[in-house]
Amino acid sequence: MNGETLYPRLEPLLAQVQKPIQYVGGELNAQVKPWEDVAVHWALMYPDAYEVGLPNQGLMILYEVLNERPDALAERTYAVWPDLAALMREHGVGQFTVDSHRAVADFDLLGVSFATELGYTNLLEALDLAGVPLHAVDRDETHPVVVAGGHAAFNPEPVADFVDCAVLGDGEQVVGDVTDVVAAWKQQGRPGGRVELLARLARVDGVYVPRFYSVSYGPDGAIAAVTRTRDDVPARVGKRTVMDLDEWPYPKTPLVPLAESVHERMSVEIFRGCTRGCRFCQAGMITRPVRERTITGIGSMVDQGLRATGYEEVGLLSLSSADHSEIGQVAKELADRYEGTNTGLSLPSTRVDAFNVTLANELSRNGRRSGLTFAPEGGSERIRRVINKTVSKDDLVRTVTTAYANGWTQVKLYFMCGLPTETDEDVLEIAELAVEVIRAGREASGRKDIRCTVSIGGFVPKPHTPFQWAGQASAETIDSRLRLLRQAINADRRIGRSIGLRYHDGKPGVVEGLLSRGDRRVGRVIEQVWREGGRFDGWSEHFSFERWTAAAAAELTPLGVDLDWYTTRERGQDEVLPWDHLDSGLDKEWLWDDWQEALSEEEVADCRWTPCYDCGVCPTNGTEIQIGPTGRSLLPLTVVGR
């Protein structure tokens, strides 16, 4: 428990592994605080490889927020690749933080951010490498409190046996509350041991402690009831929502790795939440309401971040960035400010409309025009009504053609396959659309070298969405529709050679589906898969579908359920869902009604611009939509390289 560095013992191992730089820390803007100076020590983990985890905004935000507190420190840890893990086991070196190479086991808390469920086996690997008991009930007060966060934490039941708490919603404020509780408990001499600490944490708004809730199952395999085992914990746990993003301008000094990462740019979150109402989108449902950062707030974060990092590109991040109420002005004024500085601005485009092309033109006027991305998500107008992502085929073709005409040579279109009510025809329309886009694009741009890439993945129904009741399409269905789509695209080579198709087979989606909508019984499957060597399940070279199906058969059959029961089975209105006692603010009745409207292909409008349709979030959480326009504009700045 002393926070001593493991580096002298780790260093000889690093000479023997791939990409050792990912384990040495020392990133620009990394922080190292003396162990003894603070009361509460947090290890923050992103349960995937360093190159994926380092750019994660959530982790970076909490790292700064916690390190700003005089009574706390936070260091980061990532999943180690199997080559180093084997050497660490051989030489008795535990899971370590990259900042000071301290043992994760020495920390008071281990916070793990789950952006995807496929990181669960990496959590078990990290706990095992750290020497922390896998099961929360086996831990005592010398072990870190394992806290899950991130979007997957809205149904933490599959990892309920392995985590001590799950935190729902925005992390900025709740990490402070948790730190206060831990600091007080330690200062008082750890009264009541670990159970008392967890009970105190369970009373913090937004913190769920699974061990204080018991789950019983009915004869049909479904959950009969979830009941709390103590009176002093809430019957339902609500989520946390940060209001006024301008007050939380994090990360102020983003981490810049030496190693290559998946995002070689800086990101500024321009708003949080989304009310577009896309029915497949868990992020859009659980992060409501929309809270915008103001244009001036964005401007100062971009300026400060660029100065602190030296990055050449800034991504304006959110779930649907073109929807910011002042995005046109933000784009223009930032492009003005950075003109002539070799600074690129980018927008993760999601919506399909001509305005997006105008914006992209503006943002790229200082740099090159290569690729533009749109996400129609559904292949046919019918299926787009089902998922509530309404855009007509004509508008789609017109928008993409405009992009080609404006000098963009590559357009990427994102789709999903296996959506509720989907037929082969819905998916085959993607091919028609792509062909038409290329034909019209060649005509409009007068060039033959334009390309369209269709990127398509299997849809996984997620908790807290209107599709939480849907039966997931089987891997066979997905694979057969993708095969048909490929054939259709290649039918006419003169057009087909300008169309790329990128897809994932359906199998990983089935496992993601099991983990997304699983209950506590799925924990046994995760543990078994990990024991059989399962790690890095998000990486195709490490993922083994057979390992998952074998473990699911072995662990679930004795309980009277199976993989299909969790994935392809449609749920009824009255079924108790594993996450019903976790409150995202969305009213379950509203979700059910929206599910029914999806089935009858009815759309719902965005509540930012139309009257409230009572999804439940604002009144439940005492929050409200926060949007502009503010009417303000960016102040002139002296800029690097002017």
Binding site: A15, I21, G26, E260, G340, V640
Partner: protein, 255 residues
């Protein structure tokens, strides 16, 4: 006809600076690509007025000379940068050093003198110091002797095109054994050849000639790079620029 960027072409290079930097401590695990990324970002943070290449993805004018392998530390890495405005070399050095993480340390910066040839032409050998923890001088010394006594020592090395046989002995200009705090130290001067003979390859040669197998990973530091002079020493590659710079002082601008 490809689309061309609007506006005037980027300003030309008005000054070339040559820098020596070190990679030390944990940052010896940085690869050449990692270092290049870090340096280019640091140049932006330090607001060095870089010259850029033309086109839609302009790149700052930076050229690297002979990077040390991943895992090896170095006191003598070199690069050349092109500036769009004249700057005082020492101010650039200090500003860049302050913008880099500790462990990548900019040690020297001089203005490239006209007509003295390229930096790459001034480097054809490197001096190395390799620590061999767990090996004694009594073990290392005869192994080094055996290596020097051999005419050819072929070792297998992994290259981009698969395994290749390389004569490690031919590249070794000088080698000697020493000891510090009970740890054997191999000092050597190695000529730059293609494919490269690196410290690991020389260590493999010691296995071949004397079956010297260090019990734990070794640590290599490149101490100098430059042209081999007649006495077998490595000359300072920035020397000619320094000599020319002393003769003629430019008008420096502030960074």
């Amino acid at each position: 006809m490809a689309r061309q960027p609007d506006g005037p072409p980027p300003p030309p290079t008005v000054q070339k600076l040559r820098l020596r930097y070190a990679k030390r401590g944990p940052l010896r695990f940085a690869s050449h690509r990692d270092l290049a990324r870090a340096l280019e970002r640091a140049l932006r943070r330090a607001r060095v007025p870089m010259a850029f290449s033309a086109g839609f993805s302009p790149h700052p004018k930076v050229s690297y000379v002979g990077a040390a392998p991943t895992g090896a530390a170095s006191e003598a890495e070199y690069l050349e940068i092109g500036l769009a405005q004249r700057c005082d070399p020492e101010q650039v050095r200090a500003a860049l050093d302050a913008s880099l993480p500790p462990g990548i340390d900019v040690l020297e910066c001089v203005e490239a003198a006209e007509g003295t040839g390229s930096l790459a032409d001034r480097i054809d050998a490197a001096a190395w110091r390799v620590e061999l923890p767990g090996v004694s001088l009594a073990e290392l010394a005869p192994a080094v002797e055996a290596l020097l006594a051999a005419d050819v020592v072929v070792v297998e090395k992994r290259t981009k095109n698969g395994l290749r046989d390389v004569d490690a002995r031919a590249a070794v200009v000088a080698a000697s054994a020493a000891e510090e705090a009970g740890c054997a130290i191999l000092h050597m001067v190695v000529r730059q050849v293609t494919p490269a003979v690196r410290p690991d390859d020389v260590l493999a040669a010691l296995v071949a000639v004397a079956d010297l197998r260090p019990p734990s990973p070794t640590r290599a530091v490149r101490e100098a790079q430059g042209r081999l002079d007649d006495s077998g020493a490595v000359a300072d590659p920035l020397g000619p620029d320094r000599v020319a710079g002393a003769r003629c002082q430019g008008e420096p601008a502030a960074v």
